[in-house]
């Protein structure tokens, strides 16, 4: 009990862009490098605002860090697989941006691999839309690249 009390008194408050306050233990907070450096820079009793992170993403990151620390190696693998499976491609993208911003190293290793698997057979048009990328090729430049590897387009999803 005493331990729990001291942990909660040390807990760090994080304020997401949509106004939700999360209280996390220093162990969890320190696994987010961006927050770790903010704690060092500021008084830890202050509420840390995260202008680029929403409540859903932060709750997922906390869920991951807590779930991961609690179990054995094989259980972690299983937990990770389920964690990723529960997220849609859109949610993954948002979460990855948050993870990149907060610098959660564990997830920075795991998530790109998951996203890669999901985008493997997607069409170029889908990916541009998905990643919010503007096509900066001229039509002839694009046609040339496509022509060089026309064979590779077999088996690509129709969006």
């Amino acid at each position: 009990m005493a331990e729990k009390a001291s942990e909660s008194s040390n807990s760090i408050s994080l304020n997401t862009v949509d106004g939700k306050i999360f209280k996390v233990s220093p162990t969890i907070a320190n696994q987010m490098q961006t927050i770790q450096s903010l704690i060092k820079a500021y008084d830890s009793s202050r509420v840390i605002s995260l202008p680029h992170v929403n409540a859903f993403h932060l709750s997922k990151i906390i869920e991951y860090l807590e779930g991961k620390s609690a179990t054995t190696v094989s259980a972690v693998k299983e937990f990770e697989a389920q964690f990723m499976k529960d997220l849609s491609l859109k949610q993954l993208k948002g979460l990855l941006i948050a993870v990149g911003y907060l610098k959660v190293n564990e997830l920075l290793e795991l998530m790109p691999k998951t996203v890669a698997k999901l985008i493997e057979n997607k069409s170029v048009e889908f990916l541009r839309k998905f990643f919010g990328i503007v096509n900066d090729f001229t039509p002839s430049e694009e046609a040339k690249i496509r022509e060089e590897i026309a064979w590779a387009f077999d088996g690509v999803d129709e969006d």
Binding site: L96, I97, P112, V124, A152
Partner: protein
């Protein structure tokens, strides 16, 4: 004109993924998809073409075991890589069709061979012979990107004085200078080395390597692969030491960075076998099993067993470990002793549980068996039946350009 308030509570920057994250994601994407993703935008194309990305991606390329297969289609031979898993474990899943994924060459045009593979590049060798000279050239092929280089500069070998000159080849990667190197070792009818040449991929010439040790090429039967085996930055060949009063089989190893030769000893138990057999008739193969150099042979005259050793630590004699010893009886090899030279066995793959996939070539008939070491069970493996040749080349997919 009023500027939009960037600091307003409701406005947030459009969330995008930074380039580092894009780099990370793309590094896990297979080659074929990456070729398509080059057309997403200029910055993605730049990432995918970047040399450090290509290296990074290569390290993450799945280490599936591939072999290069070749099959005859009319007057053409079509070569393509095939996952060993699909070839032997799930043969119905593959169909070999002749399209531009294949490396096609006319069967009667010139000799062909695949010398080796490194970082996703496969080196193919062509040669043509006239009364006075032999021409040797190579091409580099990346089956994953389907890019094939032009013929390299020709190496001309004068055969007027020595019509019985032969060559051994090798292909590997010099990680220090980021160079792909082809090695040709030429030897005379006695097996004595006459010269060693090297060609760097992209160069227009062949150059000499001096200071090769006094060894004799193992003059084995035509079925035996004489190509160098690339392990731990070294190319390795079976050879015969010329320094002792009796001829001892050794492994000659060329460090591709230093371009210097060393000799490695065979497993200790090997010499007894060797001494009884003229070396022309000894069937020794070098290979790679689970990233280790391995040597496999059969005790020809005793005619009982097929044996495989693995060098657990490259260059360390003590680390030779016997990983397989199986009798022909158990292997169900049915071959008359006088036809023994028509049979060659090769350990294709060793599994973590100690099982082996072994290929047997008898005349032109290629067979494969799976040997379960624990239960001593041998099972004939069916595989795609239109394949005539399998080159046991350790190939992985990469973006490395052969051009």
């Amino acid at each position: 004109m009023t500027l939009p308030t960037l600091r307003g509570k409701k406005t947030q920057p459009l969330p995008t993924l930074c380039n580092e994250l894009i780099f990370e994601i793309l590094s896990w994407v297979p080659v074929k998809s990456l070729l398509i993703l080059r057309s997403v935008c200029k910055s993605w194309k730049a990432i995918i073409s970047n040399q450090s990305f290509i290296k990074f991606h290569l390290q993450r390329s799945p280490k599936d075991a591939y072999v290069i297969t070749a099959s005859k289609h009319g007057e053409y031979v079509a070569a393509q890589p095939c996952k060993m898993r699909s070839l032997f474990e799930n043969p119905t899943s593959i169909s070999i069709t002749v399209d531009n994924s294949c490396y096609l060459f006319k069967a009667d045009e010139h000799c062909f061979n695949f010398v080796g593979s490194a970082n996703g590049l496969v080196c193919s060798l062509g040669s043509a012979i006239t009364a006075s000279e032999r021409k040797i050239w190579v091409r580099f092929w990346n089956p994953a990107t389907r890019l094939l280089s032009k013929n390299s500069a020709c190496l001309l070998v004068d055969v007027t004085n020595d019509p019985f000159s032969y060559s051994m080849f090798g292909f590997g990667y010099d990680h220090l200078t980021n160079t792909y190197k082809v090695i040709v070792i030429c030897y005379d009818g006695e097996g004595k080395i006459t010269w060693v040449k090297v060609h760097n991929m992209g160069d227009t010439f062949w150059r000499d390597i001096h200071n090769f040790p006094d060894f004799l090429a193992a003059r084995t039967n035509g079925q035996v692969r004489r190509d160098g085996i690339y392990v731990s930055n070294n190319l390795n060949w079976i050879a015969v030491s010329n320094s002792n009063s009796y001829k001892q089989s050794v492994i000659v190893s060329l460090d591709l960075v230093e371009e210097s030769f060393t000799q490695l000893s065979m497993p200790c138990a090997f010499d007894e076998v060797y001494l009884e057999v003229p070396f022309e008739e000894l069937y020794i193969f070098l290979g790679v099993l689970m990233d280790y150099l391995c040597v496999s042979y059969d005790d020809f005259y005793k005619g009982t067993n097929f044996i495989v050793w693995q060098m657990k630590e490259f260059g360390v004699q003590k680390s030779w470990t016997k990983v397989l010893n199986i009798s022909y009886y158990d292997l169900k090899v049915d071959c008359e002793l006088n036809e023994r030279h028509l049979l060659s066995l090769f350990p294709m793959r060793m599994y973590k549980n100690g099982d082996f996939l072994i290929t047997l070539l008898y005349y032109d008939d290629l067979q494969a068996v799976m040997y379960n070491q624990r239960d001593k069970k041998v099972e004939l493996v069916k595989f795609y039946n239109s394949i005539q040749w399998i080159f046991e080349i350790d190939y992985i997919e990469s973006l490395v350009s052969p051009l």
